[in-house]
Symmetry: C2
Subunit: 468 residues, 2 copies
């Protein structure tokens, strides 16, 4: 507004629209210049821009989006049990199937961390005696692969779900719809980063044999099931954004479950130790809650609501409410972040994991204003964190009624990405993310911020247009 | 700075110093006027202002304050045990002695909630068969009263500590100094608000018999004792200010202790349930940590560091590092806050409790920027919360090296009140506080913000001056 006043009173000599660097020579020449943050709509594609203008004026889309976002906002998510994957997802009991993060991908195109995780899962399932043999089995076509998202599930990083693993079962009490996620293995060496040595496999065996069944007993003993959506809402008041910062959510949840776990004897004690030692323990359950919320808005004909953003470490893919099961994919970006000592961008794998379901549901990077302390992990300043939450309101359909951002006067978190708004503003969805080493087995090497690549949004725009 | 620029360029016509209302007629007359937030030093007392100027130029005070604040900043606080009060504080084993919050007070002058708490404690100790008889015993002179602060202890609200109660034992591992606090009874009807019926007394009996001993066993089984100072530091990254918001601190601490408590069988389960159901469970331990930190800075000759602020519901008192055991007291204010439905300011007891030790140590109201969500409990907006933390830097000697405020770019919390700076600026220490009903037994009726009354600071200034 100051710039506008200056312009109107003749104090301002130049307005620079678009690339900020174009303003430099004018400023160097001593003239006053203001840069307007503007990008051409639809990535500068004139035909797509026309299409975009048309879709902004289509009543059917407005109505469909109102329906879809209302379902997202109204969805609830309570944890009802932890069960073995093959019991939750029937397809996992019908042959050698492994679920993975992101859009569909075959063994040949998988990135290092995902190959490492696949090999580990094959050994865990006993489909191969060792890792070397496991890679041959994976390449043979004997094992089938499918995205977690195809089975109402999500998993962070490589996102491997194999038949014997325990899964959280989350349910919306109104619609009875369910969503699933695997359990968090802790920091350090972990299958989700492609680590797969004996220590990793033995921990997974212990999780299958003890952690899952003990959590199940504890959960089923509760008079009131744990409400994960409410837990996320409280955690946003406790400095979490529930993607890269989960210490509040994990601590709250541990405190809620502790008496029921304590009643399970020594196994309960060990599960409580496992929860004590991992500040991200709750992440996977939070992701499953987000999957349940976004899935509620999926499948509304003509809706431009984005209901999934997911990465397999090679491709970045989105799904759109009005476009059915179709994925729109483009190359996955390398995150911009803080690296652990000894590592840098050259070591980083392209963006990986289903965890962007948090941003799709309006938390994570979209709720970063609530989590100033996350910048110590992902980079930037608390002011940047606030700015991300403000910017994301430009590309979303609503504000959450449950997830509030205290530093923004308790405004609801921006929720429900409208692919039209993304393409109109050029504001790409911001995603907090972990960074995996590109080689299997090394593990996490940092954390950072990335932006969704927009080519897949443009393709989705075309698909919505064709559907009308 | 804008006002200064306007003044220098002749755009500003008037500067109003002091009372903001004086600017109104000027503004109404159409002139531009800026109000400078200024109060006369030393509450407008000219002789005291001269004294203040002298004390600001005294090298001995500067040196003493540097020593005192360094001790406060360096102090650590780990929880080593929970023991019975009479074993921790020998005076409690030597006759009928009760400790209470705030500066010294006798039965006749005690407020309603404190009388209720005293009567309850007398029944708990078996010094009277019922409440009616207990009041007679209290009035008879048979029971002695002393401030918690006289025995290295603190207690919230009425702050009653009687011989049979369990106390947290906090220790600085370097100096081996100790501080104590009672255990939090939970919300609702509680002795600290003057409630004293059978339900209250029975809960206290259970805490004596089971909660204290079970916590003790769990704490003594830990390889590493719980570091309460570090716990507070983490909680400030989780939206707590650790006075009126303790959900992060309580959850973290519960998660740390859960495995050790789970190993105690059914009593451990019940303690975990007790911790689960009270978002303020950690408050008392946090207060004892603050007492240990502030006590470290006490007793440095000539230092103007405030080492205690405490209220007994009638008087507000402070202690000053260079003034030994002396209390400087004035009338306790009524807090300005949010009331629970059905209650208002007319029901409120004047400010009560030792919990202002949190502000004395640089958290609570001083760290409110870290806790935007606390405004839902104490009133105001997140912007007010940030403003309090900024203002308190004007009256403190240092910034904490451990307690960081994320929304202020991780600046250390303003720590160590210098009574000279308080009197120079007129900025009174801001205190988050609970509000008790003035009648015993009703309990908490709200929470809010109060400011320390400054008359006692003026009296302390005189005492420091005389000591030089």
């Amino acid at each position: 507004m100051n710039a506008l006043n200056d312009l109107m009173t003749g104090e301002l000599k130049a307005v620079n629209v678009g690339l900020a660097s174009f303003a430099d020579p004018i400023a160097e020449a001593g003239a006053q210049v203001v840069t307007l943050d503007w990008r051409p709509p639809a990535l500068g594609d004139a035909a797509a821009a026309m299409r975009l203008a048309r879709l902004f004026n289509d009543e059917r889309i407005e109505k469909a989006n109102a329906t879809a976002i209302e379902r997202v906002l109204a969805a609830q998510a309570v944890m009802i049990d932890v069960v073995t994957a093959r019991d939750a997802i029937p397809a996992l009991g019908e042959g050698k199937l492994l679920l993975h993060a992101g859009p569909p991908i075959e063994w040949e195109r998988m990135c290092g961390p995902m190959r490492g995780a696949v090999a580990g899962a094959i050994v865990l399932e006993g489909w191969a005696a060792d890792l070397e043999h496991a890679e041959k089995v994976a390449a043979s076509g004997e094992v089938k692969f499918a995205p977690c998202h195809h089975h109402d599930a999500v998993g962070p990083m490589a996102g491997l779900i194999s038949p014997s693993m325990p899964l959280y079962v989350l349910e919306d009490p109104t619609t009875k719809k369910r969503a699933y996620s695997n359990l968090n293995e802790g920091i350090g060496k972990a299958l989700r980063f492609g680590a797969n040595d004996d220590e990793v496999i033995n921990k997974l065996r212990w999780m299958n044999a003890e952690v899952g069944p003990t959590l199940s007993k504890a959960l089923r003993s509760l008079k009131e099931p744990v409400n994960i959506k409410s837990n996320i809402a409280q955690a946003l008041q406790m400095g979490d954004e529930c993607h890269n910062r989960n210490v509040g959510s994990t601590s709250l949840w541990s405190r809620q479950l502790a008496p029921a776990l304590a009643r399970q004897g020594e196994p309960g004690v060990r599960v409580l130790e496992f929860m004590r030692d991992n500040n991200h323990f709750s992440l996977n359950a939070n992701m499953a809650a987000c999957k349940l919320m976004t899935a509620a808005g999926h499948g509304v004909p003509h809706s431009t609501l984005v209901t999934a953003m997911a990465r397999n470490g090679v491709d970045f893919g989105i799904r759109v409410s009005g476009c059915g099961d179709r994925w729109f994919v483009t190359k996955a970006p390398i995150p911009d972040g803080l690296y652990f000592p000894g590592y840098g961008p050259d070591d980083a794998n392209p963006d990986l994991g289903d965890s962007a379901i948090t941003e799709t549901a309006g938390i994570g990077g979209f709720a970063m204003a609530a989590a100033p302390a996350v910048v110590g992990f992902v980079g930037g300043t608390p002011a940047d964190a606030v700015a991300y939450s403000i910017e994301m309101a430009d590309i979303t359909l609503a504000r959450s009624r449950d997830f509030q951002l205290p530093p923004l006067g308790f405004l609801g978190s921006p929720t429900g990405i409208d692919l039209r708004k993304v393409l109109d503003t050029g504001s790409a969805p911001v995603i907090d993310t972990g960074i995996a080493h590109r080689r299997p087995g090394v593990g996490q090497i940092g954390a950072g911020i990335t932006r969704a690549p927009l080519e897949c949004f443009l393709e989705a725009l075309g698909a919505v247009d064709e559907s009308l």
